[in-house]
């Protein structure tokens, strides 16, 4: 974590408030804290904010404010960042079919780490993960808290079409990918839970700061779990 946050220009219509240079819970907590503070106030010219691992990207209207005056406006917000509520207190239990057609890289990832596929599943589904950020593609959730014995370097070549719901491991991170998209990570499983749906409110179930826990299900129960999850979300939303 830096002693003082860095305020960096991202062109003439955005700036990044960078709190550190690591994937770290306290750094991310500062990002989320500033994000909430800005959301609760109205600062001239701010259009939208994007919280990421270690920085908050602030998009602003250069016809309303400037880099210099927005930096001035942000100073009081940076002084006292409350970190008492690091998480959102929301926890999600996410069903996963590990291996087989839904997780084609499970066996290779296990072998590469001198583990059995069953050990990988146990270690992956026995811890709580924290959502650090959502992005790259719609609803893609970057999760922290992976058991270090499962860390696996990213593939050299990215593959084009990871299916929606893919659970993957890349480096020391694991992720839940919600829509079809490219991925250079290892695909170990897939969830029937629809974390992103453009026509639903909320469109995206997960928020940074949420807790996620995975539990293994059999591939035969894919369809029934899919329906059960959809019904649960419908009830919760209504």
């Amino acid at each position: 974590m830096y002693a003082e946050p860095r305020l960096l220009p991202c062109g003439d219509s955005a700036l990044s408030v960078e709190f550190g240079d690591a994937i770290d819970e306290t750094v991310n907590a500062r990002v989320l804290s500033l994000d909430r503070k800005i959301a609760s106030q109205s600062i001239d010219g701010i259009r939208e904010t994007v919280p990421t691992y270690r920085s908050l990207l602030i998009h602003y209207d250069p016809f309303v404010t400037t880099f210099a005056s927005l930096k001035q406006d942000l100073i009081p917000y940076l002084r006292k960042l409350e970190l008492s509520r690091i998480n959102t207190n929301r926890a999600w239990s996410v069903p996963v079919v590990y291996g087989g057609e839904h997780g084609t890289d499970l066996d290779d990832l296990a072998a590469g780490n001198n583990l059995t596929p069953r050990e990988v599943i146990e270690r992956h589904s026995s811890v709580e993960y924290r959502v650090y950020m959502i992005g790259f593609t719609p609803g893609f959730a970057y999760l922290g808290g992976l058991n270090p014995s499962l860390a696996t370097p990213r593939r050299q070549q990215s593959r084009p079409d990871a299916p929606s719901g893919t659970i993957s491991i890349g480096g020391e991170q694991t992720a839940l990918q919600s829509v079809v998209g490219p991925s250079g990570w290892h695909w170990i499983g897939r969830t029937p839970l629809e974390v992103y749906a453009p026509d639903r409110n909320p469109m995206c179930l997960l928020d940074p700061g949420d807790i996620v826990r995975f539990y293994p299900i059999a591939s035969e129960s894919w369809q029934s779990e899919r329906e059960r999850c959809a019904a649960m979300i419908r009830d919760a939303v209504q």
């Binding site: 994007v50 016809f63 880099f67 992005g135 609803g139």
Partner: protein
């Protein structure tokens, strides 16, 4: 004749006979980048504004964004009024050549043929009264990955039929905009260094700024890749992934610079050496594959001052192009002709 009850107006039909690479785009969808949804929207926002203004629409009204390939459409029903702005290309209406940056009336069964882009990439076909679109989080822009786009959640295809309001007055009145800056080949595009310019040696930054780059064939709405020398990273090529903007210049692991655009990923993991200045964005996106580009670094203060004095958002200057000397009051009113003389620091000036 078709009366749309919900719209409360008489409609005509637009039949897409040859779709090229076209989609419906407006000013973009904002507020969802925190969920990984990029804004999408018109690549050349200035050309969209020009086409909007010519047909009397509020700036940012959805239009058909037409890529480099030819497009053919036909009208079935009452006359409609159109305008086409953007890259130079041919426009023919009912077999007769018609100028760009000017409003035209298209009558029942008339065919409109839009030729290939000449030296640019994108054009905007806008309609008086707009297109019938449903706003999805504030925009009708197509974002296929996120599942948004109105009225279709995909690019246009042959046989698609779109509803367009009938023109309100169909005499020969026309309005025309001052022509745009023309193709941007071998042009200088201004950039602001950072936010990760400290991931590069000063010599590498000099190299980035002194090279004449060529846009790669793979360029698309997500990103334009630049061909030229590979840029070495000083501290490795993995940063802690963070947010991207339209115009971020990422340097990939291979050393190739990539300029992220309207359909980009909202988060990127490669260092960003620089960001395009907004004032040059529209010229940059019009550079065709193989086109040349040279970057020049300016300060963020300079970029913002240039933007404010440019009138970039204030006005599209219209001139009278009617056969009879008559002013189109709707187009004039929405053109905000006084905009160039207003105080750029006053947000109300751009409402």
């Amino acid at each position: 004749m078709l009366y749309n009850e919900r719209e409360g107006r008489i409609m005509s039909r637009l039949i897409i006979t040859a779709p090229g690479i076209a989609s419906i785009q407006d000013i973009g969808r904002f507020g969802l980048q925190r969920y990984g949804v990029a804004p999408a929207g018109a690549m050349d926002a200035g050309a969209l504004r020009r086409a909007n203004t010519l047909v009397g629409c509020p700036v940012g009204t959805p239009a058909i964004e037409i890529g480099p390939l030819p497009v053919t459409i036909e009208v079935a029903g009452p006359p409609i009024r159109i305008a086409l702005s953007g890259t130079p290309r041919t426009l023919s209406i009912g077999g007769e050549m018609a100028p760009l940056d000017q409003s035209h009336v298209i009558r029942d069964a008339q065919r409109v043929t839009i030729g290939s882009a000449r030296g640019g990439m994108f054009s905007y076909l806008c309609f008086e009264g707009g297109l019938v679109c449903e706003s999805q989080h504030g925009s009708g822009s197509l974002d296929q990955r996120a599942g948004f786009g109105s009225p279709l959640r995909r690019r246009l295809q042959a046989g698609d039929v779109l509803e367009v309001p009938a023109a309100t007055a169909w005499h020969n009145e026309r309005s025309a905009a001052e022509p745009s800056a023309g193709p941007a080949c071998q042009d200088v595009i201004r950039v602001i260094l950072g936010p990760q310019d400290d991931y590069f040696y000063p010599e590498t930054i000099d190299r980035f700024l002194s090279t004449t780059w060529r846009t790669a064939l793979s360029s698309n709405r997500m990103c334009y890749s630049l061909d030229g020398p590979l840029l070495a990273h000083a501290k490795g090529y993995n940063i802690i992934s963070d947010g991207t903007v339209k115009g971020s210049v990422q340097v990939a692991g291979s050393g190739q610079p990539l300029v992220l655009l309207a359909d980009r990923g909202t988060i990127g993991g490669y260092p960003k050496i620089a960001t395009l200045a907004s004032i040059d964005m529209d010229r940059f996106v019009q550079i065709p594959p193989g086109g040349e580009v040279l970057f020049k670094a300016i300060s963020v203060e300079e970029a913002q001052a240039l933007l404010r004095t440019s009138g970039a958002r204030a006005s599209v200057t219209l001139r009278e192009a009617s056969r009879y000397p008559r002013i189109n009051p709707t187009a004039l009113a929405s053109a905000n002709l006084a905009g160039l003389a207003t105080n750029a620091l006053d947000p109300a000036a751009f409402d």
